[in-house]
């Protein structure tokens, strides 16, 4: 793998989030030590059946607060969530943006279904605002978010199932490394809509009791919704040591559309690619934030892949899906934000909602959060429909 010596290193300058736990990254930081879960029960109509769904719903209170602070959002929930998260990411970066002209600000959006709730209204002949109809199209949602962020540089939209978030970060890094931008807003957003619920219910993928990643009795996932945003920047623009995105890699299983490869070999490829790009050995990883959906096949596959890469010494690892649910196109970004929070707090996050660990999982599975000194390098992994696998290496710079 070639090393491009003249390309700038890229770090994370700011974050923002709208999740089941509330507005901002503070609720996520507070939830990490205790492993608080934001999953809640809500009565829904799925198809023609009324049923209770446990998921990471953005609460009505959060929605009211967002609408009150942004009365002109014109009816697209996806835009409302993503814009709020992006605004926080910009503010969280201090005065960085003051020195970056709009032409050097890029934006990459990650989403699987963008404003799909508007399509549901259209096919049912319900009223739907022009803005909401526009945001069915992910590229137009990205364009409108770029305008909202005064990002006049390159704009991209990534939609690659559940690795979209990690791919969007990778693309944001690429735009900076190619000198097309000095900073890049990366946002991930997805909603729990009737459309998405109908799909996962029809595939029998949901756990009626709520997801239990890496649990012996796990039977499925829980969906989540919301938005995550990070602001990427050239390292030399940042005043103090930060967290760099030092490695990335993707792969395809070439095996099955909706299920992971049984042996984890595709994920192994993605992890090795990310480690090679970062120029680090497996034993330098301090913590792994797994995809960990809670489906029997996914978690088994990840356990196999981790053993294949790390052998008997799998670093401490956990899943965050029990905290926020599976937020699909936002997952890679929100879980990266959780990794940053863990580094900041020097904490190894546990696995919320885990009751009895699966004996097939490596012993280093973290059931509860615990303090960790010297937490410096984190591997973040995600996998998705279509056999896609993604891996990212995050590295805290030393002062």
């Amino acid at each position: 793998m070639d090393v491009a010596v003249n390309e700038p290193a890229v770090a994370i300058a700011g974050c923002g989030a709208i999740t089941a736990l509330g507005i901002g990254i503070e609720p996520l930081q507070r939830a990490l030590p205790a492993g608080t879960s934001g999953l809640r029960n809500r009565e829904c109509t799925v198809g023609k059946t009324r049923q209770a769904i446990i998921a990471g719903w953005v609460t009505g209170e959060t929605l009211d607060q967002l609408r009150a602070s942004d009365p002109g959002h014109a009816g697209s929930r996806a835009f409302l969530f993503a814009r709020a998260a992006l605004k926080q990411a910009g503010q969280n970066a201090g005065n960085l943006l003051d020195s970056v002209p709009p032409s050097k600000r890029g934006l990459v959006l990650s989403t699987t279904k963008a404003g799909i709730d508007a399509l549901e209204k259209l096919v049912r002949h319900l009223p739907c605002s022009p803005m909401a109809q526009r945001h069915i199209q992910p590229a137009w949602l990205a364009a409108d978010l770029a305008v909202a962020c005064a990002a006049g540089g390159p704009v991209q939209c990534v939609s690659a199932a559940c690795i979209s978030g990690l791919l969007a970060i990778q693309q944001g890094v690429a735009l900076i490394r190619r000198n097309l931008a000095d900073v890049v807003f990366v946002a991930g957003v997805d909603l729990i809509s009737d459309f998405v619920l109908a799909g996962f219910v029809s595939l029998k993928s949901l756990d009626p009791e709520g997801c239990r990643p890496f649990d012996k009795a796990r039977i499925g996932l829980s969906l989540g919704e919301g938005a995550g945003a990070i602001l990427l920047a050239r390292c030399d623009l940042l005043p103090s040591p930060s967290v760099r995105v030092s490695g990335w890699g993707t792969s395809n299983d070439a095996n099955h559309l909706t299920g992971p490869s049984r042996d984890g070999s595709g994920l192994v490829l993605a992890i090795f690619r990310a480690l090679a790009r970062a120029g680090v050995a497996p034993d330098s990883i301090d913590y792994i934030n797994a995809h960990g959906t809670g489906t029997p096949y996914n978690d088994n596959m990840e356990a196999l892949a981790l053993r294949a890469v790390f052998g008997r010494r799998v670093p401490p690892f956990s899943s965050s899906k029990g905290m926020l649910g599976h937020t699909l196109g936002a997952a890679g970004i929100l879980e990266t934000i959780l990794c940053l929070a863990a580094m900041q707090a020097q904490l190894l996050p546990g696995t919320p909602r885990l009751r009895e660990r699966d004996p097939a999982a490596p012993e280093s599975l973290l059931d509860h959060s615990r303090p960790a000194s010297g937490l410096r390098r984190i591997l973040k992994i995600n996998c998705g429909f279509g056999g896609t696998n993604g891996a990212l290496v995050l590295e805290r710079e030393l002062p």
Binding site: L119, A161, G199, N252, R273
Partner: protein
Amino acid sequence: MNPPAILAASYLGPEGHGNDLTGLRAWPASLNEALQRGELDGLHWSLVSDSDPSRFARMDLMCRLGLMAAELLDAGFDAMPEARRERIGVCVETFAGSLDTDIRFAQTPRPSIFAYTLPSTVIGEICIRYRLKGPVLCLVSADAAGNNAAVEAAEWLKLGDAGACLCLSCEALDRKTAVAAGLPGHLPPDGWHACALLIGGREGAPRERPFAAGSLVEICRKLCSKPKRAC
């Protein structure tokens, strides 16, 4: 890494279907009228291949078109060693994405089509058929010309992330479906197409041509309109 070169190109669109060796062939008369109107349901695997159509039959329009474009490349993936296929990436760019299937699923949710409500599913289908395991990317872009896919793929080659890359631009939103759902504005401005470009390092292969970034649609249409054999 040698400078990137075009190793193969294919195109399907209202004008016909073919690759950079065969040139474009006209559609059968029985299909042509509907295809010119942007009604794509009649497209069938047998138009491009003699192989087993069973998997094709369950796919949505986007995957059908994308896989037909990949098959039309006639790139010899099956004969390549596994180590080489492990380093072939797939980069897809689309505007309409899976909207055709989204509309159908929103009208009648069926588990068999849910997996196709993602624009990236075509990557999975291509990778499964040709056993490709390299890097993947799916971009949804406001222009339907595929201006970014080949740029991103060339970057993978430059960085050594992939040895070759199949780039695909695919627009497969059936006009009747879009209009019935009240979304005519979401139709790609230049209608439907699927075109594939295989790029890799220069090795002096007979089909090889110099690569320059640009619209995937224009590059593929041009190469397939002026096939190598006729040069």
